[in-house]
Symmetry: C2
Subunit: 190 residues, 2 copies
DNA sequence: TTGGTTACGTGATGTAGATCACAATATTTT
DNA sequence: AAAATATTGTGATCTACATCACGTAACCAA
């Protein structure tokens, strides 16, 4: 399945566009490929785009005092990622996004998203629902953070995304859970 | 200023509706008043509505094992609140919402919101932006949780909402910060 | 193959914040 | 005003997790 079909099926779940409308919609996306380890957004950058993941895995993360890394999101196929704070407020990036594996992306500029939302009610509908799901997931994660210890959060994460266990190094999982790699290691090597 | 004007000014910041359109929009909101301490949504309830705060202050919170409380949101005038997970998924509430002070609300049902979003592109636009802001704020809070200790989170909270200091008891602020009331107390009484 | 980087495990020790316990004020309610 | 309840402070102790330190194994690149 090519990237166009992947995006089309993704959108079709929440919005109905005719094939012509989708063709036009799709024409605003720019395909991009990156190698493992490459940086897509670096702290301080101007952020113009958000990214729809076709294949591979990315991490969106924050670096504290040039030392500690906190992962906000692992972005997998059919997920969207960017530094949304920077993107919507037109401020320099504080979040980094880079590639855990080789990736293929579709890139959509902020301006084009807003233009498409204006032109098609259904596109606006789609983005409302996407953000809504993100908001709900974010609230849930926050709650888990306050309520649960590392062990439970780790099990929750693996239950939700079993692929991660083999796909990403453990210290990145620790950075997502907000604990040191040593503590995570001791969880399953007691 | 009456509740209609408050809502109108709030909406006007991100969407343009004619007066007639706004009248129609507003007709779907049901005014409600509650006394301090009353419960608006209790865990297990069916959730039909979201609420726009006209006056007063609410808390949206989660209770763990019938013991510990974690506050997800203090809802102040012109804020929206509900158990959005329950509302969008039509599942029983896991979040409680109740009144810290006497409050006046405007209540909008899930069905009416969706209907209005369909009928008016501008309404859909408004709700996309509202959710978007919520998402960004939620990500920011999550990051602060991972990155900062209680003292810094406390200062951040008061910088953002100075009213809270006098409006709500300290143990609720502790429940928002995710620490014990004792620890919070020791922060400013060293 | 070799040398370098990255990943991972594990002991010893330090610390922020939790928990328990009790006391002192405020604030409601009757 | 008296009684009941909610709010806040503070000491003593406990614990989950961080940090530091060191060792081993896997994976690249030259």
């Amino acid at each position: 399945m090519d990237s166009k079909e992947i995006l089309q099926q993704h959108i079709a779940k929440t919005a109905s566009l005719t094939d012509d409308q989708f063709d036009y919609f799709f024409s605003h996306f720019k395909p991009q490929s990156f190698k493992k380890g490459q940086t897509i957004i670096g702290a301080g950058d101007k952020v113009d785009c958000e990214y729809f993941v076709i294949s591979g895995c990315l991490k969106a993360f924050f670096i504290n005092d040039e030392i500690k890394m906190y992962i906000l999101q692992f972005a997998m196929p059919t997920w969207w990622t960017s530094d949304y704070t920077a993107l919507y407020n037109q401020t320099p990036a504080t979040i980094n996004v880079d590639c855990i594996t080789d990736v293929e992306l579709l890139c959509l500029s902020n301006g084009d998203r807003e233009k498409l939302c204006e032109e098609f009610h259904q596109v606006e509908h789609f983005f409302r629902w996407r953000t809504n799901k993100g908001y709900i997931a974010s609230q849930k994660r926050l709650l888990s953070f306050m309520n649960n210890n590392v062990k439970i959060r780790y099990e929750e994460l693996l239950a939700l995304y079993p692929q991660l266990y083999n796909l990403v190094p453990k210290h990145l999982i620790a950075a997502y859970l907000g604990v040191s790699r040593e503590t995570l290691s001791r969880l399953y090597n007691p």
